[in-house]
Structure formats: C-alpha cells, structure tokens
Symmetry: D3
Subunit: 158 residues, 6 copies
C-alpha cells in the first residue's frame, strides 16, 4: 500500500517505527470553525464580557485534549508536548467562532494530530455548552495550516 | 445568561443537575466528512478491498472515543452507553469519506456529544493514517442530524 | 478488622459489594482552602475581573476530576454523577481561596470521594497556575461537610 | 498579568512553551497529613501489622496518581517521571498519618505538581478506606517542601 | 457472520445494542496463574509475611483494571461495577501464584471481560514486580469459570 | 528483600529511580495464544477473508493497550514508545490464534511490560468478540521472548 506508512507490507496496521528519527523541535498549527446563528454568537460574546466564559472553557478543553491525542488516535505516538495554545475568535461574518490551535514538541514525530485534536475538542466543547439554545450548529474547516520540523520539511496551507 | 444552562445565575460553569430527569431511552446521530484528492481516496478504497483497512480502524477509534466523551468535554455527564455504530462511506463526488455515528443510552441526558465525538475521532483517525500522502485534507460538516428521547423531544436536521 | 469495610475477613482489600444496596439520590459537599500571601491573592482577584481567569480554570479542573475519581481512588465504585458544582471564593482574611464542591448521583453508594477529589484538584490547579509567583502556598481544611442519601443517613460537619 | 506565566498578554490561558528550556534532572518533595481520632489511627496501625494494609494501598494510589498529573491539572506538561516514592508515617501526636511524596524526572519543567498530586491522592485514599468508621477526618498541610533542578533554582520550605 | 454479534450484516464492527436487554444482577469469575521457579515464589511469599507485599499490590492493580475494561476492550460496554474481589494464592506445586477474580454488576450485559481483565492485570503486575529476578515466567490458564445473570443463563467451566 | 527492586529496604513499594540510567534503544517481544474450537477458529478466519475482521480489531486494541501500560501496572514508568507491532496468526494445530507483540523505545527502562500488555489485550479482545459462540476459550503462553537494550543485556526465551 504505497504511501500509507501505517500499514506494513502485508497490510497490517502498526505504530510506525520512529526510533531512528532524530529528536527535533516540531510545531503544528490546526484550525477549525463552528457556525451558529448571530443570536447564539451574541450569547457567547456577551457572556465573555460579563459572565459565563464559553470560550475560556473551550480553550481549556482543547489544551487538555491535546494531551490525550495518543489515547484517542490508535496509531499515534505518545509525545512530550512542550506547548499548547488556542485562539478562539468570534467572527460575525461566519457567524460563529474561529479556532486556531498551536502545539510544539521536541520529539521524533510531528504534532499535527495533537493540534487537530485540540481544535476539534474546543469546537465540540462550544457545541456542548451552547446546544441548549441551538442544535443545528456545524463544525467545519478542520485542517492543518502549518507543520514544521522533522525530515518531511515545512508544510503550509494557503 | 438566558439559555446557556451550563452556567448558573452568577455565570459560573457547572455540570448541570440532571438528577430529577427521567431515565429514558435516548438516541443521537451525528455526521461528518473528510475531503481529500481522488488519488488519496483510491488508496483507501483499494486498501479496503485488499489489505490495510483504514476505514475499519477509524470505525474502532470512533467507537472507543464515544466512551471517552465525558473525559474530553468538561461539562458532559458520564453515561452508560448501550450502542455505538459508525458508517464510513467512500464518496467519489466529495471526493472523500462520509461518516455517520449512532449512539444510544438509557439515561438522564442525551448522547449528542458522544455521537459528535465518535464522528470527529473517526475523521481524525482517517487523517492520521493518510497524512503521509496528503496533508491538506479538510474535515467538515460535523453536526447532529438526529436526537430523540428526553423532555426536549425529537430534533432532526435536514 | 472491625469497621474497615474495604477489607474482607482475611484482611484482603476488595471493592465492597454494593449490589444489594438501593439506588437512591445521594449528595455530598466537600471543602478545602489554599493559603497564600495577600499579594498573590490580589493577582488572582485582579485577573478575575480583567483577564486570566485562575478560578474559572480551577473550577473546570475540579468538575473534570470528579469524573475521574474511580480512576484515582483504588476501591471507589464508578458512579453515574448527575451534578458537579464548585464555588471558589477569595477570602482576604485567610488570605487565599475557599473552595466548596457539591456532587450528586443516583446510585448505590455515596459521592464523598467525588466531592473531595473535585475540591482538592481545584486547589492543586490554583497552586499550579500561581506557583511562579509563590511556592510556599499551603492547601488545607480538605474535608466532607455534608453527606446525605443512602442507609447511613445524613452527616454534617460543623 | 505579571508573574502568572500560564496566561498570555491577553489573559488567555495556555500551556507554557518550555521547548527552549534545558532538559535537567529535577526533583520535588511534597507533604500532607490526615487528622483522625486515636481510635481510627489504631485501626490502621493494627491492620498494618496484621492484615488490611491501608497505608500500602494509599502508597500505590499515590504512585499511580503521580503518573496522571498532566491528565488532572489542565496546564501541566506531560513528563517522563523517573522516580516516585511515598512515605506514610502514623503520628500519634497528630493523631493521624503524615505523608511525604518524592518525584524525579529528567525534563524541561519541574515535578512539584506530580509530588503534590501523589501526596493528596494518598491522603484521599486513606480517607476512602477509613470513612466507614470516621467521616470528619481532615486533610491538611499539603505543600511543596523541596524543589530542585531547573533555572529557578532550589526551593526549600522550613 | 453467524454468531459473531459484534459485527453487523455487512461485517462492520459495532458496539452491540443492549438497550432492550433487562437490567439484571450479573456475576463473572475468571482465573489465571503465573508460573515461576520455587526460589522466585519463595521471595514473594516471604515478602508477604515480612515486607514487600507483591500480592497486595497485584490485587489493587487487578481491581483498578476491572474499572478500565471498557477503555481497553474496543467493543465492551461501560458498566457500573458493584463489586470486584481478587484472590491470589501461592501454589508450591505450580510453582507460582493462582489468581481468581470475581466481578458483579447490575446492568444490561455481562462482566466476563471485567473479570478476565482483572485477573490478567494482576498476573502482569506480579510479573513486573518480580522480573528483576526471573524473566522467563509464563502467564496461563486465563479463562472464565463462572458467568451468571442475563438471558444466556449460567455458564460454569469444569 | 533481595532482588525485588520494586521495594525499598523497608519493604515499601516505590517506582524505582531510573534517573541515572542511560537513555538507550530498547526492544521487547512478548507472545501469547488463545485456544478455541476448530469451528470457532473457522468463524474468525472466514470473517477475515470476507468481512468482520476480528484479528484486525484485536491488533488495534493491542497497540492502544501498549500506550496504557503505565496506567495499568502500578510501578511501571511512563515511556515514549517508538514502535508497536502485533502479529496474529491462526494456528489450526492449536487450534486458535498465536499473538506476538513487538515494542520499541528510546528510554531509561525496558518495554517488556508494554509488549506483554499488548499481547494480553489482543487476546482478551479476541475473547470478547468471539465469546457469543464459545465461552470456554483459554488464554495462555503469555511470556517475554526477547528483551534487548539497557544494562541487563539481551534475554531470549527458547
């Protein structure tokens, strides 16, 4: 199965051997958004200014989820994460919230999955806290926008 | 903060008191998709027929993630899940994979978050296994399409 | 070993058989405090008003920890928690933060351990976020103040 | 928010970037105690000599909890712990049990939180096993007594 | 796939729907053994009498593992366990340790997997603590000896 | 307690201090088997060719369990695993399935426990998926067959 490194020559899944890879500084950034009505967005942004910090809680959920990535994604290597940061920005055009998650490590493999897991968990946490007022919110645009460090070099998405 | 039940009158987050809610049969269905190139999709679907079962592994990851939902989403109640099933369908039009996750429980609160977590983790697992050949895949359309059981009644998305 | 129900007649630890106990509504309240300098307390309370919500994050950590209690305390039964709420109150007299955690369930055994775990984890989380400015903070007064529901009846601490 | 390194310039929580810190040997010692009646203490110490090893089980719970620290404390970095040891000493003066937890690592950040988590979980485990005979035990004196290794130097509490 | 209930008509794995099953009292007993040299066994049994309680720690590990079963076994349902007990008996004939694990629940599906997971984890914990003196120990005889409660009736192994 | 390094001079369990050990490449291989009737084995092997991939799911469960080893085995050190691979081979002579698990790390202590945990969890997962048709399957032969790297040198079992 050319290219799918998570399978051996017999097509059996394995956690890829990274023991010969160099320990290098690695970074990944992932983003996502959650689309909601303007009224729902107003509830969140008003709460942020006054009380009931939806975005603050989603940020913590994303940070904690990054640390659980290897527990969630079957073939992911456990990694000593050295940084996790999330930005959650209300966007009236969407309308909704834009999420960006940055993860760093010094390790033998990249942290794209950690960044994606942080961003998606933050989005799910927003959904959970707001679903009493709106059930048809949609999460989308979950993707990697930057990956650097390691042999495969720098990747950026437009 | 009208409507945001996860916050009390002072705006402090709490896990909502569901102890007076009836134990009823509840179901939720969530869906998501991951968009990739036709070539990448072909690698997955060929592997499925022959060897290297990307979709089978993503399905297992989604089922296991449903059981971790209360561990990931801060204000979610732990629930005795009674069923989890995922459908992962290649879609040449997308091109990519369409994911649907169904979760059931007999409990005091709904299982939307479990279904959403299952669907998003299955999508992330596909990303992980295929990222060596394509990094700019995008996960989207993550939403609840059915919720039933409990006081708030039946919700369906078009 | 009279009274120590977690050990059988041979002195071997076991998870006590609660299968014949009635499922009843149960509640427990635990409290704790963390003592710090007035200057450190001011950093926290100013941050709360403006930015950097130490107490909001500690509250979330306490809620999530309540759900992990059976994973932390070896002989604790897993329980379907139906409510978790934490109050974190700055106290200039202490000086420091007073923490109160309330947990409810409908189950076959009590939730004292869940309330204690929530309170102590909230206190530890405050310590973690503030330790860069003060290392000699002390956590104390961790105890159960209310327990009700179940055969052993109501317990209140003065 | 001067000094509170867990918040960025905008007051948003993040897991602090430690990727530029040196990997050094680090140690932390934390202590706690649990106060109970002399009769309860006697039950524990007699059990230790004969059967029903409360302190042995609390020690194991503390060791295992140290490994879960990054899962409990939101902004804690995951660390490759290289040693955990707990001393649990009956103290007739207290009366109760004194707990000391020592944790070591070779890493980019300290292990105070791991030592504190080990000590508090050991105390909570004692509470759990003895609560059938005494409910008004109090856990206190939870603090760091030694921290060494890393840029901020050696800290000792009197 | 006749009989393999964990797969649907299309051969796709799912967590079986148990929502229509009755909640009944269920029990399962599993056993295992670990074979070692007489010298190694003597180290364990002497330690038990004096100091260094290998069997006590293995018992706690087994109890805690029973609570993690649904996290380890992909298609297992989470269950509210109501009892876990382990017997660990030195057997000079083996020579080694015989392990028996009993688990109870009131639920919609059985607890065989919980009993098996408890027994195997206790055996693995013994291996871990003794491997410094003997590496060629073998764990075997891991099986269910009793299962009762639920529609499929009572099963006993000779 | 000569030789049992997991206990200190007083017989108290601790997580052994490995902070002075060199970080070296380490590998361990463990094996196990599960014995069943020929009919049950046929169900599995037919499913593998057609649909219902019991062995594929057991392989994933084993890989994920390797990452949970330090969470299951009380005195195990957390380790940055760099490779996990499992072979599951039907054996008509047994009759049943033979399992082999290989784990690698670059760390300060060995990965025997990770390999054993992967093999035993894969065996338990097979049991879970097939138990509807046969309850008296037996898991055995769980042992380490290779360990290399680190000060104690190479160990191979015949």
């Amino acid at each position: 199965m050319t290219g799918l490194t998570h399978f051996d020559a017999e097509g059996q899944a394995h956690m890829v051997d990274v023991s010969d890879k160099a320990v290098t500084d690695r970074i990944a950034v992932a983003e996502a958004h959650i689309v909601m009505s303007s009224d729902t967005l107003a509830l969140i942004t008003q709460g942020r200014a006054k009380k009931g910090d939806v975005l603050g809680i989603a940020r913590i959920a994303g940070i904690m989820a990054a640390k659980k990535t290897a527990d969630l994604i079957p073939l992911c290597h456990p990694l000593p994460i050295t940084r996790v940061a999330l930005d959650l920005t209300p966007d009236a055009q969407l309308p909704g919230i834009r999420i960006s998650a940055t993860v760093k490590t010094s390790g033998q493999t990249g942290v794209e999955m950690e960044a994606l897991t942080a961003a998606s968990t933050a989005a799910l946490t927003i959904y959970d806290m707001v679903k009493a007022v709106q059930k048809d919110m949609v999460i989308g645009g979950l993707r990697v926008t930057l990956k650097d460090g390691g042999k495969s070099g720098r990747f950026t998405a437009p």
